[in-house]
Structure formats: structure tokens, C-alpha cells
């Protein structure tokens, strides 16, 4: 070129040396294609997280290179065979059998193909090359030379020359006979002396044998990936010029510079394989199922109120849903580029074997998928039992709608359950309050009277007014004057308290300690629990005898409890209660009031002796001491308050 000329390069092609400028271009390319590489990176992360395919990807990249090398070797062989006029080529069963046999002898496919190509050229016959391949293998193992060199040496011998490599093995060219006869003598000698060397080598060098097998495996896999690789290259060539053109250049001519993107590139290539699609789809289905399960867990979290469970369910469901979607998206992309089996058949004879391999792999995958389906059915049944209908849809909107619907339903059920729980709890609380108050009342009236201080104490404890306390106790003991607001207002706190105190003093039915002065008993007071007359302290004590008519006591002038006008009702109410507490044979306790039945069959065994009287209740043969009577009564009252109807029978004292 003229010195000083101006050269305007329109199109350049990098040499295979690689340079700083090339590196700069590569960096620029990386920058230009940042968005694209980022997508690949993200895709890689998703897939790698699920299946840890990074190593497989690297392997896939290597297999492509192996496949290319093998293809190149077989292409050369085909040309060499064709030049001899032979119709045999790499698709021929004979060749494939030979290649497999040589693989067993720890020779790689590419080595075999190269040796056959060279042999065909040397012998001018494809058939002779194949016939002498085994001998060449033995020679190669004994002499340490390569298979191709051994084949070339044999070719020279066939041409009447003995190369040094064969001479070293003791080969001497016969002096008489045709070239063919001489060559036959030589090969017979070599076969006799070297036969089995290649097999022995393969058996004693397992690593070499394994390498050959591995190369075969790599080649098989690479053949599957190669079309996808080519498809991608073609696609990028057409669609992404000029952005990607530098990148392609580096892939083909400067492989050492593509390492930073090699993984991403290999990922694209590898995941384009059909098997990748199958794996991704299976994984996506599995992730989808896990997502549904996680949603159920989340729902359970709502029901139980477990925030931790709820949060875990949400994050798991969201994460798995995203993973499932990502994998399906990847699988869809891969489907568009998966290999074409017809084209594969054209590309290499090994593909036939590869197709068998992939068919087997697919069968295994199908089996795995079948198992997974069974698992899915199991899970689905479990979910149905939980009244959950999982969706198999992969549409995120549908999934979210299903999830929300699921949670909504569960919330309604949870709310219903919660309402019942709260109602039950409130009922329990109410019962407890009533029982506690009754216990307080019993404690306060244990001395048979109630003072203003005690009422104030109860008011403070219960959180209500003093008047309300008196009215409450009046209600318990069924004192109409205290239950009537108008009358209560008229009496005032002091009047109400006096009235209550008098009633309590008159009742004295459960005297603490059971100590009292027994003063009377008789036919009219058969149980001996009604006092015939007040004791020294003015209180009535229990004796035995007929039950007195309290109406007189309640209404007489000395012990007037209430005005005469109110006496009947008060008397009737209290009397009824007292009669009920007469422990007739049958006492039925209703919800609102004691339904007394002063049965004629009432019996009494209450002791009635002078001095201290201990009252024991005999309930169906079980003796209940008066000391525990308050608690028994409390139990009765609790049941009454809670609306439970209880029928006691066989009460006796």
C-alpha cells in the first residue's frame, strides 16, 4: 500500500491475535448490550437458584466446542471418503460401530474420524482405512504415537515404504511379491505381535477410557446444543447488528476475551435445549404448587392470628409465585428455540445416539413428572379437605384474585368462629362475675348480718354504688321491696340495708360453723331448721320440728321486716325459697327462680340436739357438710345463671 495513504475502513475483521483495541470494543459492546446482558443475568439467577445449573451451563459450553470439533473431524472424513469414490460416510452403520468400538478402546471420536480420513487418503480407500483401524490402534498404543500417525504409517507401508515408526517395531519390507502381498505380510506380522494391545491399554488406563467416554457424552450433548447455538447466533446476527456483532466476533475468534460473558452466553445456549424446557416447566409446576400451599399456610396464619405464620406464608407464596412465573417465562422462550430433530440428524451420526439418550432422559423426566402429578393430586386432596381450591393458572392476576378470594373466605369463617368465641368468653366472664359476687355475699353474711361498711366494701369491689349492691343482694334473695326501684328509692340506702339485714338475720339457714342454739323442733318444723323463736341475740336459730309459718314473723309487730301491705308478696317469695331449701325430695331449679316443691316425701335426718348443731346434707348418699355448702350453692347458682336446668333429687338433711 502506498505510504501515507488514507484508509477509510468500512468493514473490518479482527485477526485471531486479539488486542487492546479489541478489548476496548468488547468493553463498549458490554456497555451497549448492558440491558440485554442484565436480562440474561437475571434469567441466570432465577434458573440457577432453582436448579444450580451454573456448572451445567459451563459444561454445556464445553460440549458445544467438543461437538464442533467432532463435526469438523467427521466432515473431513466424509470428504476424504468421498474422494476415494466410497459411498460410506459418517452416517453409515459401519462407521458408527467402528467409532463406538474405538471409544471403548479409549480413542475419542474426533481422533477416530481424523485417523479414518488420513487412512482413506493414504490407502486411497475408505474400506482399507476402516480395515486397518484396529491395527493402527494397537500400533499407536505400543509405539506411543497418535492413532492418525499410526494410520499414516500403515498407509506408507501399503505404498511400499517402511517408516521409522514401523521399523522400530521390527517391520521389514519383504523383498518379493506385489505391494499388496508385501503389505499383507507386514500387517499379519504386526497383528500377530501386537494384537490386543489397544484393549489392554484401555483396561489398564481407565482414566483414558473414561475421557473418551466423557468426550462421547459431551459430544452427544453438544450436538443437541449446537443447533440451538447456531439458531441464536443467526438470530443475533440478524436482529442485533451492529450492537452484537462485536460480541459474535469475539466468540468465534477471541474466545479468551469472552470469559466475562461466557457464562451468560452459555446459559442462553444451554437453556435453549429442550431438556431445559422440561426441567423449567416441571420446576414451575412444583413451585406453583408450593405457592398454593404457602397461601394456605398464610390463610391459617390469619385464622390463628399468628403473624409469623402469616408473614411467612405471604413471603413464601409471593416468592414461589414469582419463581414459577420466571421459570415459565424462561421455558416459553426456550421452546421457541429448541432443537429440530430432523436437522440434528443431518448434522452428525452421533445424533442418532444422542436422540436415543435424550429420549431416555425425556422418559425419565416424564416418570418424574408422573410422580409429581401424584404428589400434586395428594396435595390437592389435602387442600380440598381444607375447603381450598387451588388454581393451576399461572396468570399472576388470576393467582392474586384466587389468593384474595381464599383469604376472604377464610376471614369470614374466622370471623364467625371468633364471634362465637367472644360470645362464649363473655358468657364465661359473666358467670364468673356472678359467681364471684355470690361468693362475696356469702362471705359477708356469714355472721348473719350485713353492715353498711360491708356494703361499701362490696360496692368498691364490684365497681357499683352502695344502693346497687343492696338491690343486687335483694334480687339474689328475691326481696321485692329491694327489686322495685320506686320502693327502693323510698326506703333509701339505710332503709334498704336495714331490710336486707333483717331478712338475712331471719334466714340464718347456712350459719357459718353450724353453731347455733337449737331451741325448737316439732311437727311444724320437721327439719328443725326453722327457729321457733329468736335466740338471746334476737336471731332465729334452727331447731327441729314443724316448719313455722314465717309470714307471721315477717309481719308481726316485733319483728316486722316490711310493711304489712307488702307482706304477702315478700312472705310468699321468701317462704317459697325457704320451702325449696327445705330440701324436699325433689327440688327443681329453673332459670329465673327456684321452683320449690315441698314434697310430702321430704325426709329429714338433721340432728336436733341442744347446743351446737351441725347440718349435713345427704345428696344421693353423699354427705355434704355445711362448711362446703356455700361452694355447692355457688355451683348451683352458676348453673342457674348460665341457664342450665339442673334437677337434684334425693336431698336429705
Amino acid at each position: 500500500m502506498t505510504k501515507g495513504a488514507v484508509i477509510a475502513r468500512i468493514v473490518s475483521e479482527y485477526s485471531d491475535k486479539g488486542t487492546k483495541a479489541a478489548a476496548r470494543d468488547f468493553q463498549k459492546l458490554h456497555k451497549d448490550s448492558h440491558g440485554l446482558s442484565k436480562q440474561f443475568e437475571e434469567l441466570g439467577k432465577k434458573v440457577a437458584k432453582a436448579f444450580a445449573v451454573v456448572e451445567i451451563i459451563k459444561f454445556g459450553f464445553e460440549t458445544i466446542k467438543v461437538a464442533e470439533a467432532v463435526n469438523g473431524a467427521f466432515s473431513k472424513m466424509n470428504i476424504a471418503f468421498a474422494n476415494t469414490g466410497s459411498v460410506i460416510n459418517s452416517n453409515s452403520p459401519k462407521v458408527q460401530t467402528l467409532v463406538e468400538h474405538m471409544t471403548d478402546l479409549a480413542f475419542m471420536s474426533s481422533e477416530t474420524a481424523d485417523a479414518l480420513a488420513r487412512g482413506a487418503t493414504s490407502f486411497h480407500s475408505a474400506q482399507m482405512a476402516m480395515d486397518n483401524l484396529s491395527l493402527a490402534a494397537d500400533i499407536a498404543r505400543v509405539s506411543g504415537m497418535g492413532l492418525s500417525e499410526a494410520m499414516v504409517a500403515l498407509g506408507k507401508a501399503a505404498a511400499g515404504k517402511v517408516p521409522k515408526s514401523l521399523a522400530a517395531l521390527g517391520v521389514v519390507m519383504p523383498k518379493t511379491g506385489t505391494a499388496a502381498e508385501k503389505f499383507k505380510i507386514i500387517t499379519d506380522q504386526l497383528t500377530k505381535s501386537l494384537e490386543g494391545q489397544a484393549e489392554a491399554y484401555a483396561q489398564t488406563h481407565p482414566i483414558e477410557a473414561m475421557k473418551a467416554k466423557f468426550e462421547e457424552f459431551s459430544n452427544s450433548l453438544g450436538q443437541l446444543l449446537l443447533p440451538a447455538f447456531s439458531a441464536v447466533v443467526n438470530f443475533l446476527d440478524r436482529k442485533l447488528i451492529p450492537v452484537m456483532v462485536n460480541f459474535l466476533n469475539f466468540i468465534r475468534q477471541n474466545p479468551k476475551y469472552i470469559q466475562p460473558l461466557a457464562d451468560a452466553w452459555a446459559l442462553i445456549v444451554n437453556v435453549l435445549a429442550k431438556v431445559g424446557v422440561v426441567v423449567l416447566r416441571t420446576g414451575a409446576r412444583f413451585a406453583n404448587m408450593l405457592s398454593v400451599i404457602a397461601q394456605v399456610v398464610r390463610g391459617i396464619g390469619y385464622i390463628t392470628g399468628s403473624k409469623e405464620l402469616k408473614d411467612w406464608g405471604k413471603s413464601a407464596a409471593d416468592g414461589l409465585g414469582a419463581a414459577s412465573k420466571g421459570m415459565l417465562t424462561a421455558a416459553d422462550k426456550l421452546d421457541k428455540f429448541h432443537m429440530n430433530a430432523v436437522k440434528l440428524k443431518v448434522l452428525s451420526p452421533i445424533v442418532v445416539k444422542s436422540l436415543k439418550d435424550i429420549a431416555g432422559q425425556t422418559a425419565l423426566t416424564a416418570t418424574a413428572t408422573g410422580k409429581l402429578t401424584a404428589e400434586q393430586i395428594k396435595v390437592l386432596n389435602a387442600l380440598k379437605a381444607l375447603k381450598v381450591t387451588p388454581t393451576t393458572s399461572t396468570d399472576p392476576i388470576e393467582l392474586e384474585a384466587a389468593r384474595l378470594n381464599l383469604l376472604k373466605q377464610q376471614n369470614i369463617e374466622a370471623q364467625t368462629g371468633l364471634d362465637k368465641l367472644i360470645a362464649n368468653y363473655e358468657a364465661m366472664m359473666k358467670n364468673n362475675v356472678e359467681a364471684q359476687r355470690y361468693s362475696d355475699i356469702l362471705g359477708v353474711i356469714a355472721d348473719n348480718n350485713i353492715s353498711a361498711a360491708e356494703v361499701e366494701m362490696l360496692a368498691a369491689k364490684w365497681g357499683i354504688s352502695k344502693e346497687a349492691v343492696v338491690q343486687y343482694i335483694g334480687k339474689i334473695f328475691d326481696i321485692p321491696a329491694l327489686m322495685d326501684p320506686t320502693e327502693a328509692a323510698r326506703l333509701g340506702f339505710k332503709g334498704m340495708l336495714d331490710l336486707l339485714d333483717q331478712v338475712i338475720a331471719k334466714m340464718k339457714i347456712v350459719g357459718a360453723g353450724g353453731t347455733s342454739a337449737a331451741t325448737s323442733s316439732g311437727a311444724g318444723n320437721p327439719l328443725g331448721i326453722y327457729p321457733s323463736s329468736p335466740g338471746a341475740n334476737g336471731n332465729f336459730t334452727y331447731g327441729s320440728g314443724s316448719v313455722p309459718d314465717l309470714s307471721g314473723a315477717l309481719s308481726n309487730g316485733t319483728n316486722a321486716l316490711i310493711p304489712t301491705s307488702a307482706a304477702p308478696s315478700v312472705t310468699t317469695g321468701v317462704l317459697n325459697k325457704l320451702k325449696a331449701m327445705d330440701f324436699g325430695s325433689t327440688a327443681s331449679y329453673g332459670t329465673s327462680q327456684f321452683a320449690a316443691n315441698n314434697a310430702s316425701t321430704a325426709s329429714s335426718n338433721a340432728p336436733s340436739t341442744a347446743g351446737t348443731t351441725t347440718v349435713n346434707l345427704n345428696v344421693d348418699g353423699h354427705t355434704i357438710a355445711t362448711a362446703v355448702l356455700p361452694s355447692v350453692t355457688q355451683g348451683i347458682l352458676q348453673n342457674q345463671i348460665s341457664g342450665k336446668s339442673i334437677v337434684y333429687s334425693g336431698f336429705s338433711v
Partner: protein, 184 residues
């Protein structure tokens, strides 16, 4: 003036394709040559008949200044010769010192006068002398700023040339692929 497009496998593709389909190679070459010829014709048109400066001699000096170009003096403005010096090339160029790239398609401005006209004033700023500064200024004012010939043509036609190149290469690769598969 960077290398805007770097294609791959041009040489190898054509080499392999030649074994199977020479017509395809011819077609490829034709496409490329056509694209280059277009640019070349345009580049030639940028060279005016008259020198851009009145003092630029149209004939070679009988007594050239010895200090210039090894005694050959300042090159004469010979438009015919200059246009003839604008050529297209697809030769694999020599590997350059630093970037090791080779040319797969280029326009070359061979003549000294053409190179001066092409590049004078490309470096920003004035010249080393007053006359040098005036030379650059007048050259840029009366004509386009540097570069003025081959690079100007290449820049104007780059997209079309690149597309033609890429399309031709893809076609060639496809033809080669079909040929390889049919010969298996």
C-alpha cells in the same frame, strides 16, 4: 474515524463457500463491490477540478523544495491523478501496530495531494506557521472540514454499506450451510 462495523468470518465463509458454490461467492463479491463502488464514486466527486487554494500548483515543480517530502516538494493538484488514487479495497490489510485489525472492505485515498486535501485541518487549532494556519482555514472554509474525501463518503454511506455487507454475509453463510448439509 473509528471502525464502526466489524464482521465475522468473512474470509472463512468465502473460502469455504468457494468449495461448494462459486456463483454464491461471485454474488457476495458483487454485492460488496457494488457498495464499495458507490462510496468510491462519491468520494471521487469530492475532489474539485480546481485546487482549493490559488497557490496550490497544478503541475509538479521542476525545482521542488528539498526540505519537503524528501526533496519531492509539495505535491501538485492533479485532479485526475487524485481521483484515480481513490480506490476500493477488500484486501486483508496488514495488521496494524496496536489494534491488530485487518480490513475487509475499505476506501483508500492513495495520492499525496489527495491525502493532504483529505486530512488537512483535522487536528484542532492553528498551524505551526501563519501560512499553515491560513491554509487550514481557507481549505475548511472553501470546502468541507476534514475529512473531505474517502472518509466523508464512507460516513455518508455507512449505514447502507454496513447493511449491504451484513446482508450479503448472512446470505453467503446460509448458502454455505445449505451446501454443507446437502453434501453430508
Amino acid at each position: 474515524m473509528p471502525n464502526r462495523i466489524v464482521l465475522v468470518g468473512v474470509e472463512q465463509t468465502l473460502k469455504d463457500l468457494k468449495k461448494f458454490d462459486k456463483d454464491a461467492v461471485t454474488k457476495f463479491t458483487k454485492t460488496i463491490n457494488k457498495a464499495l463502488a458507490l462510496a468510491k464514486t462519491e468520494a471521487k466527486s469530492y475532489i474539485p477540478d480546481e485546487p482549493p487554494l490559488s497557490g496550490w500548483s497544478k503541475t509538479v515543480s521542476n525545482k521542488p523544495r528539498m526540505s519537503v517530502r524528501g526533496g519531492r516538494g509539495f505535491p501538485a493538484w492533479e485532479p485526475g491523478l487524485m481521483r484515480a488514487g481513490v480506490v476500493a479495497s477488500r484486501a486483508q490489510g496488514k495488521v496494524r501496530k496496536k489494534d491488530y485489525t485487518t480490513s475487509a472492505g475499505a476506501l483508500i485515498n492513495k495520492t499525496p495531494a489527495g491525502a493532504i486535501f483529505e486530512l488537512a485541518g483535522r487536528k484542532p487549532g492553528g498551524g505551526r506557521t501563519a501560512s499553515g494556519t491560513a491554509f487550514k482555514k481557507i481549505l475548511s472554509d472553501r470546502n468541507a472540514p476534514a475529512s473531505r474525501v474517502v472518509w466523508r463518503a464512507v460516513d455518508r454511506n455507512r449505514n447502507k454499506i454496513e447493511k449491504d455487507f451484513a446482508r450479503a454475509l448472512i446470505e453467503a453463510e446460509n448458502t454455505l450451510q445449505i451446501a454443507l448439509e446437502s453434501n453430508k
